[in-house]
């Protein structure tokens, strides 16, 4: 809110990396939502000529997405920890951005 008079146009490499990691972190729930909504599009048992998906495949899919999301979140978290260990204050500066 006008606190910093002239924020630099370009960030140094580390801050830049950190911000892109934050972007990925922010996108992750949207990706998860999309992947978990895929079963909505699967053919179901009652209708159509297409054979329905087997339950074992459905379980495998849902839990695979789950694992992938968990690994992605944990991975991003540890990367962020590595990157931001030097400048913890940047986190707050980021939040004032769009």
């Amino acid at each position: 809110m006008g606190k910093e008079q002239n924020p630099p146009v370009f960030l140094e490499r580390r801050s830049y990396r950190q911000r892109r990691l934050m972007d990925a972190l922010r996108l992750l729930p949207l990706v998860g939502m999309m992947l978990w909504m895929v079963p909505v599009l699967w053919p179901v048992a009652d209708t159509g000529d297409v054979p329905p998906i087997k339950m074992s495949q459905a379980i495998t899919y849902v839990f695979a997405v789950w694992l992938a999301l968990i690994f992605a979140t944990a991975g991003l978290w540890s990367r962020l920890n590595d990157v931001s260990s030097g400048n913890p204050s940047d986190d707050d500066a980021e939040t004032t951005g769009p």
């Binding site: 809110m1 606190k3 934050m22 972190l25 922010r26 992750l28 729930p29 949207l30 998860g32 939502m33 978990w36 909504m37 079963p39 909505v40 699967w42 053919p43 179901v44 048992a45 009652d46 329905p52 998906i53 087997k54 339950m55 074992s56 495949q57 459905a58 379980i59 849902v62 839990f63 789950w66 694992l67 999301l69 968990i70 979140t73 944990a74 978290w77 707050d92 939040t95 004032t96």
Partner: protein, 894 residues
Amino acid sequence: MASLNLLIGVCLGYVTLLFGVAFVAERAAARGKGAWLRSPLVYTLSLSIYCTAWTFYGAVGYAARSGMEFVTIYLGPSLVMIGWWWVLRKLVRIGRTQRVTSIADLISSRYGKSNTLAIIVTVMAVIGVTPYIALQLQSVTLSLSIFADPSGATDGGMNLLSAGFWVALGLALFTVLFGTRNLNANERHDGVVIAVAVEAVVKLIALLAVGIFVVWGISGGITETMARIDASEIGQWHMDRSRWAALTVLSGAAFLCLPRMFQVLVVEHDDERHLHIASWAFPIYLMLMSLFVVPIAVVGLDLLPAGSNPDLFVLTVPLSQGQDGLAILSFLGGFSSATSMVIVATLALSTMVSNHVVMPIYLSLQGEGATVSGDVRSVVILSRRASILIIIALGYLYYRISGGSGALAAIGLISFAGVAQFLPSMLGGIFWRGATRVGALCGLVTGFTIWIYASLLPSFGTDVVLSQSVFDMGPLGINWLRPQALFGVDGLDPTVHAVLWSLLLNTGAFVVGSLVSFPTPLERLQGAQFVNIFAHSGHARGWSASVAESEDLMIMAQRILGAREAQDLFRTEARKQGVDGHLPEPTPDFLQRLERELSASVGAATAHAMISQLVGGTSVSVQDLMAVADESAQLLEYSSQLEAKSSELSHTALQLREANAKLTQLSVQKDAFLSQISHELRTPMTSIRSFSEILRDTKRLSGEEKTKYASIIHVEAIRLTRLLDDLLDLSVLENGQVSLNEATGAMDDVIDHAVATTQAGGATLRIARVNGPVRVMVHTDLDRLAQVFINLVSNAQKYCKADVPELTIELREEQGNVEVYFTDNGVPIPNDTRALIFEKFARIDDQDGSGAGLGLAICREIMARLGGDIFYLPMTNGNRFVVRLPQTLALAAQ
């Protein structure tokens, strides 16, 4: 076959263990050794109260009935945790900076600390969560009955209702003991949190153990299990598409809005780093909890006789295989799920009820409000304990009335839909500054009404509250108001229908209400703080505390925080302010801090009301803000006036100092002159006396000598007369008694006369004349003017010490004035004495003592009388005196 008594024994042992753990944790925290209680692991495990007995037993039943749909209940929370950056991070920060004690407190605080909103949210939460508590009681008693009669066909001679009663009583006891032990400033309950964490581990291990037994023990491996699943009656993908999406969203919303989740997510913890770790650790927990649900359901459907309650497969499958130990472990898991949920939920609800319903009523009944005497803390704790008992009693009552009917999952979803009504107001409040109290009220009431009508009341079944005709035809025959087909939208799943309409209209009413209403200043300030919590975690709103008395505040704080804590707080503040003693000044900052401390104990709205009673101003009005602005403007003006005055004063002081220095100098000169003039008078008098004595006493004097002595006496007498004449002259001039003898004459003639007069004795001074182009005529007292000129010329004669003394007399006409310059080539008058030369008795290095120091003073007086001026101009090598006469006098002459 494990006997019921053994089971009850195990239960009691387990509960005793929990009591012990909670007690140890409280002790450790009290001794300041509780750092391990605040670890990310405990935080993640405490979040697991999301997984209740509904999840533990119900999920398997749900899977047996609807296949994979059960998993949506876990997908929503997983997404919320993975997306912690969007909402949770902000909620936790707000919870920490605003000292939020519950979700009702958050919403009320955001919308201008409105107690109406707090009460509405509290009531909604109690109504929404009561079925959920009943659900837990139901699941515990159901599971007990299984041990009494594994077939589940009868209740095995065991009184389910009385069992429910004893379970409810035990839970109430635990919650009262560890939830209301003290009125903690941060509303934290270390004992409860650690007990919940232990229970989280127990239920996870129990479910995993049953799952592993089913997969490897019964089915014989993963591949075989998968084959078995595909071959079962739920082996094909079968789902209601709208439910899949709606339940995912609903469970995510409920995860944020459930009072117990808010309690563990925001209130019990304030370290944001824990949240970062929980963002991936908690999804792992959820995944593990749901990993074996489908296999257990499939094996249960396979092994157990048709008609067995699928909600209890977790127990009945091990029992049917003779695995009593595993069954008991599984029972403990279910028991843990139920108890931890009930404890935290009741704790959260009781805080809300006591802070937002009981305390305001109590304070208003007291009449004097915040100024009553006595310790309010005991009242707060008492009201919390009563609230806990009432809420659990309500849950038990619901359980008795509903008679343990209905599938567990259905009841849970109704509860979810109820609390999800908080979502629009909460998210709108933290992301949209335009959200107002009126909007929140509209949204909450609309959403809640639709929820009751479309979800809660139909859940009792037809002809209980709503008649069959209302279901079929709508109330009063209005077709588009049918509770499960609002606005004629038919064919939707009832849960999806209720969630869709209630949340849609809730959001709509919230947005429209916010758009058309205007927030109070307090709302706007709170809104700005909540929405921009990361930009400024400070606080903008201030009390104007002129009326507040520190003593009253102290008394009030003591009653709520406790005497020692309040005294500590006040003493610390006093020290910070640099005030002696225990009572700090009631500055706005301090009041703000105090309000926050109090709000941690009794909620924001109550704390705000209490302080405002003492301070006077109930809230910040626009007038207040304007007054503050006015005041500061006045202060600015006043200070600039002060500044101007002070510079004026210092200027005057400088002038005074100069005047004083001049006076001192003059006084010194006058003293010098008095001694001088007495000397001056004595010298001629002495010679006159001596020569007159010689003339009188000496008989034989020649005529020549007599003449000589007589003429000396004569000259001295003349000198005396002249001195006295000068003094008289000056005195007359100064008193303004002089009469001017005005005549018209040429300036040149006057100068000529003066020069001729002074040169009469044959002087050494060379005088040069520079005349203007025209002859200047003046109309004035020519004799007096001549006197001035004579004085100036004779001064030059006397004091010009040049080798060849020379005086230039120049006549000029300049800017409507006639000016005569008398410029000599002598030594310039020293700087320090220039200011004094026109003063009386002023004499500069007067060696011969012939002058009385009155000449220039007389000149100045004469020129002032004539309407002109005389002044001194220093030259580089010489002195210049300027005599100025106004042109009018000159013009008049022509």
